[in-house]
Symmetry: C2
Subunit: 394 residues, 2 copies
């Protein structure tokens, strides 16, 4: 009999996908270059040549049975070594092969992390605004997602509400900094306060509470800064990473889960992830992609365009009187809408061929998201359109 | 708190992996060419050049953002079209894009299929001997795996026991033909009888019972035959396929789930699979692998070596007096051991550097599996060693 859980989910439509679909449709009418589509968080910069060159070289030179052959479930040993050594050097944390579990990008890393540290009914707390998929990701793992409402002043953490939400069922906290959709990077102060509160809660409830740190935007940080590395501030941290954004290859599905060597259970968490894989049909990410990553371990695509776009948009929005927190990274910005109903606001924008996503999708109604991973030239052309929209409607 | 489910699984070791490890260790002592390692089902024939050439061409010519960009969750539309059209032509079943769901190989296809057609506590029946991973695959999905003991005469289906096991909780039957580990292909008679019994059971219990047909060895069939296509005999069939064996690229994790267009719910099963993906962290198989497959849709590696190896081994085993069913496909053979305790039998074989896997792992004690996906030259060298082992020990 078809399971009701998944059948019932069929009705719900993704607002973002729906908007992207409308943008594409409008594009067919007036030319996609005339639609200012800020809906989708899809990397717009090319994949570094070095990645493609590595792949071509391997396809040309390697024995095809080795190249395309089975990878052990937690990943090819040399690839895990390369990831561990790169993380160690960068963050000064002694990661070793046994702490690294290669995954089909961040979604898969999260799916494993949730299942390792929670039993059905346990709670995972996250902070609005957040990526809407967190809800099915967590709830379908058997755990329960609890959401702290946004600190709209700064999009850091609403600690008062967070504190009231922690209880004996809290097994993990899911964070995402640099953040989709706000673009905000958690400050050192935020990370320290979070870490302190969780340490206290661990003592109070006599069990580990893990931070599951979803970090696909780690490499996209502005003003020459680095995002505070959560694992440096809190031992029980499971880092979930994806190369989708930093290398512009979201379709290849490659990333990893990195367990802090100082975490409780650090010696068995990756082995447990291997067991999780058996249940969810994960075996390993593509072998050739694993090898291509390892050969180019510290490489990123040229991500500078995102900062350029952010500055153009931020300055324009400020000049038009928007209330907006300046993004510290990612390719998103999350301004306050000019009316309370952000769905209505975004619908009005559509008339100007401006595709914006209402904050309701991210548990922060009254705001809207712009994904500025588009060509700078298009961003520039969109600025007078944004101005026209605002002047005419508000 | 670390979940007990996965923690408890850590103790259990895979007998096959353990044996493969011992074979590798012995190989370091005496040279791997002197270890007759029949433990692992890892394809030994090269990947067709055309696959690598397609990949090199795409890496050279395509825009990297398109090539490595997000694939829609159920797969790239043109790739799904190519799979549907190839299956339609071959089996005369009108598959369309909407029936095809691209997956990270068969394990992932199965993980989706189980979750679509069962709710927690529902039962899935399978037939010994079977791939040992079926148990965690099914049980960790929330369903319960029930096992019919083997029909050791022919390794077809023990229908009497099967009939007694069907009840109102039976939602699916999981089959694998050509079969790992027996090498047997279900005959048309078997498939018709299975189909008839399930049709009756569907009426009796007033709900659909799906056949989940795991077909990674579909292309490896001997004597110029084809394995009966299950979907042709039973409407409610969900085919789970992998290119791991037919194209020798198990590390690239690519395959699909194909829903019979005549199945109950055929219009929503793939959409439901998309929802399942959200929970288990699956997004799509690698984009470049999807495209490489589509460009070479009807291609296989040169699989003839497996039949050659099978004949050599089968003839030798028969001449030595083994009771053995001649494989109709795959790269496995599953003879009866020369003593009741097949673990003891395989341990004795190890002294001759013959690595065989006890049937206990496949729920068929008293038998043993040989995976003859190794070079023919090595198979030939192993024959006198098998003879020596048998003559000396029995």
């Amino acid at each position: 009999m078809l399971t009701e859980v998944y059948k019932e989910m069929l009705g719900a439509k993704s607002v973002i996908r729906d908007l992207a679909g409308r943008a594409a449709e409008r594009g067919r009418e007036i030319g996609y270059e005339n639609v200012f589509d800020y809906s989708l968080g899809n990397p717009s910069v090319p994949v570094p040549d070095a990645i493609n060159k590595s792949m071509i070289r391997m396809l040309t030179e390697m024995d095809s049975r080795s190249l395309h052959g089975y990878s052990p479930n937690p990943g090819i040993p040399e690839v895990r070594d390369a990831v561990a050594s790169s993380l160690s050097k960068r963050f000064g944390i002694p990661y070793k092969r046994e702490h690294i579990f290669m995954t089909s990008a961040a979604a898969s890393a999260l799916a494993h992390a949730f299942r390792i540290v929670t039993s059905p009914g346990d709670e995972i707390i996250t902070f609005a605004p957040f990526f809407p998929e967190y809800r099915p990701y967590v709830n379908l793992s058997g755990a329960v997602l609890k959401c702290v409402s946004p600190d709209t002043e700064s999009f850091q953490i609403n600690f008062d509400e967070f504190e009231s939400m922690i209880n004996e069922k809290t097994m993990a906290v899911l964070i995402n900094s640099p953040n989709n959709p706000s673009g905000v990077v958690y400050s050192e102060e935020t990370v320290k306060k979070l870490s302190g509160m969780l340490s206290d809660a661990q003592k109070k409830y006599s069990h580990a509470i893990y931070i599951i740190s979803d970090e696909p935007y780690r490499e996209i940080v502005f003003d020459g800064k680095e995002a505070p590395c959560i694992s440096k501030y809190y031992d029980n941290t499971i880092m979930c990473y994806s190369y989708s954004k930093s290398l512009s290859l979201p379709g290849e599905r490659i990333g990893y889960m990195a367990v802090n060597p100082a975490a409780e259970g650090a010696d068995i968490l990756v082995d447990m992830a291997v067991q999780v894989s058996r249940g969810i049909g994960h075996n390993c990410p593509s072998s050739i992609m694993q090898r291509a990553i390892a050969e180019n371990i510290d490489l990123t695509a040229d991500l500078s365009v995102y900062e350029k776009n952010m500055n153009l948009i931020y300055d324009k929005l400020v000049s038009l009187g928007f209330t907006v927190v300046r993004p510290g990274g990612t390719f998103y910005i999350f301004p306050k809408a000019l009316e309370e109903d952000s769905v209505a606001f975004c619908n009005k924008a559509l008339k100007y061929d401006l595709v914006l996503v209402p904050g309701d999708s991210f548990m922060a109604p009254g705001y809207f998201r712009m994904a500025y991973c588009i060509d700078t030239e298009k961003v520039e052309r969109s600025l007078p359109v944004i101005e026209k929209f605002v002047r005419s409607e508000y």
